[in-house]
């Protein structure tokens, strides 16, 4: 992810210099951090509220760009096999990536993230552990608030870091296991993909009535290719975004959340949000012996 920002509020600077530390860690996680030589120095946060310019496009925009697509992004066109029927007949369909949605989301997340890093840097931290990110819709107009926070830590008896602080969603014993397994956290990774589906007549018919021979009881079932294609693309795009950030490192503990909104029959917006920990190997793996199964008597 990005570098620290440079717009720390003056009040925050005064608070950080007050002397007492704050932490979002639970007591077990706090104890585990001390065992690892990670000294909490402050609870750091970053905020950003973003508005989407074209968020939630409505039906009247249909027909603006049947084959234009989005530059460099995923686009697939679908042509009606029936010929001209009526003005209501969906003679074309299109799946396309929405880079402006992805960019707005990525910019909002990156701004909140860099502001959190700025606070950590101001505290002289080497890293931020136990990162939590939340996204809340502030209104119906496509305004989203990004809030990212975590506990800034300093590595005891280590020289000051030359880079900006490393970050991880992990804390406590899970973080300790990461280090023992030969990994070091680099940063959290969050990526989003957004794919819009304008259904053409076949997709609309299959999604609304379920079959071309809807009046027949023994109609054959068929795969709804346009929807499958869009869903597959959304999942592939978000993984490609994440791979682009990770480089040769490992992306670990990934959570992939999928959200779909249906505007009309077959007209969908598919969003995939992927989050995980970017880890780098610092020593060769020393595998554990096969674990010993136990039966707990209680």
């Amino acid at each position: 992810m990005g570098e620290p920002a440079n717009d720390l509020p003056e009040a925050a600077e005064r608070r950080f210099s007050a002397g007492a530390f704050s932490s979002g860690l639970s007591v077990p996680d706090f104890a585990a951090c001390l065992e690892m030589g990670l000294e909490p120095v402050g609870f750091v946060q970053g905020f950003c509220a973003m508005q989407w310019g074209w968020y939630g496009m409505s039906g009247y925009q249909r027909g603006m760009s049947p084959y234009g697509g989005t530059a460099g992004g995923y686009v697939e066109n679908y042509q009606c096999p029936h010929g001209m029927r009526s003005v209501d007949h969906r003679s074309w369909g299109q799946n396309y990536q929405q880079p402006w949605v992805e960019k707005a989301w990525t910019d909002g997340f990156a701004s909140a993230y860099s502001r959190m890093l700025e606070e950590a840097t101001a505290l002289g931290a080497d890293g931020v552990v136990g990162v939590v990110d939340t996204f809340a819709h502030l209104s119906e107009e496509g305004v989203v608030e990004f809030h990212i926070h975590g506990t800034a830590v300093r590595v005891q008896d280590a020289p000051p870091t030359v880079l900006w602080p490393w970050t991880t969603y992990l804390a406590g014993q899970r973080l300790a296991k990461i280090f023992e397994a030969g990994y070091v956290p680099v940063c959290i990774v969050a990526a989003i993909s957004s794919v819009r589906v304008w259904a053409y007549c076949v997709t609309e018919y299959l999604m609304s009535r379920g079959g071309v021979s809807a009046w027949s009881m023994d109609a054959e079932v068929t795969e709804i290719e346009q929807i499958v294609s869009a869903r597959t693309a959304a999942r592939e795009i978000v993984r490609a975004h994440a791979r682009g950030v990770v480089g040769g490192d490992a992306l670990h503990g990934v959570d992939l959340a999928i959200r779909e909104r249906e505007f009309e029959q077959g007209d969908l917006e598919i969003e995939c949000l992927l989050r995980g920990n970017r880890l780098r190997r610092f020593k060769d793996f020393d595998p554990l012996p096969p674990p010993q199964p136990t039966v707990r008597l209680s």
Partner: protein, 280 residues
């Protein structure tokens, strides 16, 4: 000579953390990029049996169902059962293909999401492709897909078993409507609605049989971690659904290895919660 029974000497964790963090300033070690949704415990379990995660993979499918099929009829709703089977088959084929393309020999921890709508049935699979450490890629047909967690997969392998694939079965059955006279007669009675009970039994037997047929086709000897979902659907008040799926397994070398778990007694005191309901 070291005694394998003795635990390894614990590294100085603080020194390890200092070394790890200092390495961030160095040029990164060259390595293959991997993506996984496994926890660190699951990854350690995998490594302990000589396997590693490779890539997050998915497979989706959506099949149409003519909406009129839900309303009136007798016996099985064949279009819906066929759509469910096809959606599973296509989603599995796609996750096989993605896993093989990433160099995986199998997929573990597969999250199975399915949804039945009046006009279509959706199946979505998401999991982590895994392989024996450093193994060469295999063909898509040789990849196994399992909804077992990486921990359970490791336990299965240690006991001499192997997962072969995901088996599923589903059946949608009409619950015949009662005669008007029967409805009126039974209005004020506590009575079993045998039409629904029988429909549910019929759906269950068909679905379970289909799952077993898939397991046998994969040359498995059993299915573990079977999950079932059953019941009526909001858009079809006179139809019931039953779906089941699980991981097909068989012995790897015809010998089950007894893992002989060690009995442990926890010395933790159980936490006693104050129960306000006991106040008189």
């Amino acid at each position: 000579m070291t005694n394998p029974e003795l635990p390894k000497e614990s590294p100085d964790l603080k020194a390890e953390v200092r070394r790890a963090v200092a390495s961030l300033a160095d040029t990164p070690r060259r390595g293959d990029s991997t993506t996984s949704d496994l926890s660190i415990d699951e990854e350690l379990n995998l490594h302990s049996i000589g396997w590693e995660p490779v890539e997050l993979v998915s497979g989706v499918s959506v099949f149409s169902v003519p909406w009129r099929v839900w309303s009136w009829g007798q016996g099985e709703i064949e279009a819906a059962s066929a759509a469910h089977a096809q959606a599973f088959r296509y989603a599995i084929a796609r996750i096989h293909s993605e896993a093989a393309g990433a160099g995986g020999h199998g997929v573990v921890g597969v999250r199975v999401e399915r949804a039945v709508h009046a006009t279509h049935i959706e199946v979505s699979l998401l999991g982590t492709a895994v392989r024996p450490i450093g193994a060469v890629p295999v063909a898509p047909g040789e990849v196994f897909v399992s909804d077992l967690s990486a921990r359970d997969f490791a336990l299965l392998v240690v006991s001499g078993w192997q997962p072969l694939g995901l088996a599923s079965g589903a059946s949608f059955v009409y619950a015949p409507r009662r005669a008007v006279s029967a409805v009126l007669q039974q209005r004020t009675q506590n009575v079993e609605l045998t039409n629904f009970t029988e429909a549910m039994y019929s759906a269950r037997e068909t679905a379970m049989a289909r799952m077993q047929e898939t397991a046998l086709a994969l040359k498995g000897t059993g299915v573990v971690e079977v999950k079932v979902q059953e019941g009526p659907m909001p858009f079809a008040t006179h139809a019931v659904a039953f779906a089941s799926w699980g991981t097909v397994v068989r012995l790897a070398n015809n010998v089950h290895r007894h893992i002989q778990p060690k009995m442990v007694v926890s010395l933790d005191d159980p936490v006693l919660l104050f129960d306000a309901q006991t106040l008189g």
